[in-house]
């Protein structure tokens, strides 16, 4: 069994959600490096025909994650280029959106996410970056995957300070009745566990815990009610092949770590990543 890091397990778990069948589109949304790694992994393994979009590039191949180089690579490999509004029509507000992972500051037991403010909206303690497309993604996409770099009661809260977005309804039957796509649960992936919410009237359920994590620890560190089945699964470990792909081809510069670092530590890490990217670019110039 290969040694792996928690973030690699999370990438593999999210990659499983990218199912390839049909003309459904997954989108590289605003700065979610762990999600990008998952999409690329899926695209290189079980979901080779999956539709991926990034920026104005549509039908892109997997690209090497790179703070400076990924945008250009997406265009170089793209099968199509579309305006944002074109994508929005079919994907964000129709039924063709498959996945666009969201990572937010807070999530609550109703599966509401908050990327707007901590504290009062009009005079916040922390003004966060803002909604981007998350409200429409959460409402309309076939699948919702939310991931966090931390599993604690400050992140997983009883009630978010502000509802930037919330999927409603969640259950497949209710969504079909409302003309909405999707019957997958809201899936939440953290460094400790995977939780899912399938029904509007029932809380999140604990689907699996990662190796070395106890159920009690997960429940204690979750600020909302969690249904715990009798037999909680163990989140599967990444395979050697997946780890090799992630480490040598998809993310050799280590951009997924950006999700796990903050403040000055993250800037220091960014400088290291940039040094590696610069060396790579210079190497290609020969």
């Amino acid at each position: 069994m290969s040694e792996y890091e928690t973030h690699e397990l999370m990438v593999c778990r999210i990659a499983e959600e990218m199912t390839a069948t049909g003309g459904y589109v997954s989108i590289l949304g605003s700065f979610t490096p762990l999600a990008y790694a998952a999409y690329m992994l899926a695209k290189l393994t079980h979901a080779r025909d999956a539709w991926l979009c990034g920026f104005n590039a549509v039908g892109v191949p997997a690209v090497q994650l790179s703070f400076t180089g990924a945008e250009a690579a997406l265009y170089r490999g793209a099968q199509a280029r579309r305006q944002f509004l074109d994508n929005a029509r079919f994907v964000h507000v129709h039924t063709r959106g498959l996945m666009e992972c969201v990572s937010s500051a807070q999530l609550d037991g109703d599966a509401a996410v908050n990327i707007s403010v901590i504290g009062d909206y009009d005079r916040p303690t922390v003004r966060l970056p803002g909604a981007a497309g998350a409200p429409e993604v959460l409402q309309n996409f076939r699948k919702v995957v939310v991931y966090f770099a931390r599993h604690d009661t400050r992140t997983l809260v009883p009630k978010v300070d502000f509802v930037t977005g919330r999927r409603t309804p969640i259950s497949g039957a209710a969504r079909r009745a409302a003309g909405l796509a999707g019957d997958a649960p809201v899936t939440v992936v953290t460094p400790l566990a995977v939780m899912v919410k399938s029904e509007d009237e029932r809380p999140f359920a604990l689907q699996s815990v990662h190796a070395g994590v106890s159920v009690d620890e997960v429940v204690e560190r979750t600020g909302f009610a969690l249904e715990v089945p009798d037999d909680v699964a163990s989140t599967r470990a990444p395979t050697a092949a997946e780890l090799d792909l992630l480490r040598t081809r998809i993310d050799p510069f280590g951009t997924v770590q950006f999700d796990f670092l903050g403040g000055e530590e993250r800037i220091a890490y960014l400088k290291k990543v940039l040094d590696r990217e610069r060396a790579h670019a210079l190497g290609r110039l020969g």
């Binding site: 180089g69 944002f84 507000v93 803002g130 497309g133 409200p135 977005g165 960014l270 290609r284």
Partner: protein, 299 residues
């Protein structure tokens, strides 16, 4: 017809109190030369509109140029929360209107279609919808019982976008990220295009499929090489993350350090700015970084 103007004339094209829409998104293709020129003009009166803003909006806020901001996200990505935006909003100094990204684009499109509002299958449960009744409503279908969310038209006074090539007629061509620029331009009263290269209409017509903004929508054209810097302009140059790191350090410090960073931008010309920041082999490096991104094939 010649719409070509000098960068130094750009602020005079923007009346006081204008709502100014900035093109680009994330760290891609924001009209940064235009942003710097507005700082040089010491504007303090602008109502900004940005879909997914970053250093463009940050600098204008840091430079005291913004009276109001309409946006869906302002982020510095790996560099963390945007300090000037965060500080100004937390202090109650900058009124904002946060709008879900698709709704904001549909609002611009409604303006382009010359209708007062457009239906949208939007985010019903978002508090952003309920707190902005001046932007969102519900209408009943004239053809049945169905009720649909509607979003009101938003019409910026001026849109500023950055292109790869533009001609004197205003035909703007891209070979990379346009982000939401076409709908921003179509929904705005007037459009200013800055461009890496000025070309003739004959050269435009050699690759008409690259013209994402037809000249009839455009009012002014400004030649601004590296005009997106420190943001990227694919395929020419990647994001200048080193310059962004310098900004972040000044903005996090705030006070005199941030003021000095902004003042330096104000007093130097655009040529002096580029000479200063594209130091040593920076320009070649940014081009190399844009070329170095790898696509991966399954094995």
């Amino acid at each position: 017809m010649d719409k070509v103007r000098l960068l130094a004339d750009l602020p005079s094209l923007i009346p006081r109190g204008s709502t100014v829409g900035l093109g680009g998104g994330w760290f891609a293709n924001h009209p940064m030369a235009a942003v710097r020129e507005l700082l040089r003009a010491r504007r303090d009166d602008l109502r900004l509109l940005a879909l997914i803003g970053s250093i463009d909006v940050e600098l204008l806020i840091a430079g005291g140029a913004a009276r109001h901001l309409t946006f869906s996200m302002i982020s510095l990505e790996a560099l963390g929360l945007p300090p000037a935006f965060r500080r100004a909003v937390q202090a109650g100094e900058l009124p904002i209107t946060e709008v879900p990204a698709v709704a904001l684009q549909v609002a611009l499109e409604a303006s382009a279609f010359n209708v007062p509002f457009s239906p949208l299958r939007g985010a019903d449960a978002s508090e952003l919808v309920t707190r902005h009744p001046e932007l969102f409503g519900v209408v009943r279908s004239p053809f049945g019982d169905e009720e649909t969310m509607v979003v009101r038209a938003i019409r910026p006074d001026v849109a500023i976008v950055h292109a790869l090539r533009c001609d004197r007629l205003g035909n703007a061509q891209h070979d990379g990220s346009t982000i939401y620029d076409p709908v921003l331009a179509a929904g705005s009263q007037r459009v200013i295009v800055t461009c890496e290269e000025l070309v003739t209409p004959e050269e435009t017509a050699e690759h008409p499929h690259m013209t994402h903004l037809a000249g009839y929508l455009v009012d002014a054209v400004v030649h601004a090489p590296f005009g997106a810097h420190p943001c990227s302009h694919v395929p020419l140059y990647a994001v200048d993350a080193w310059e962004l790191i310098d900004y972040q350090a000044a903005a996090a410090a705030g006070g005199d350090e941030l003021a000095a960073y902004v003042e330096r931008l104000r007093v130097e010309t655009e040529e002096e700015y580029l000479t200063r920041v594209l130091v040593d082999d920076r320009a070649a490096m940014l081009a190399a970084l844009a070329a170095a991104g790898e696509t991966l094939e399954p094995t």
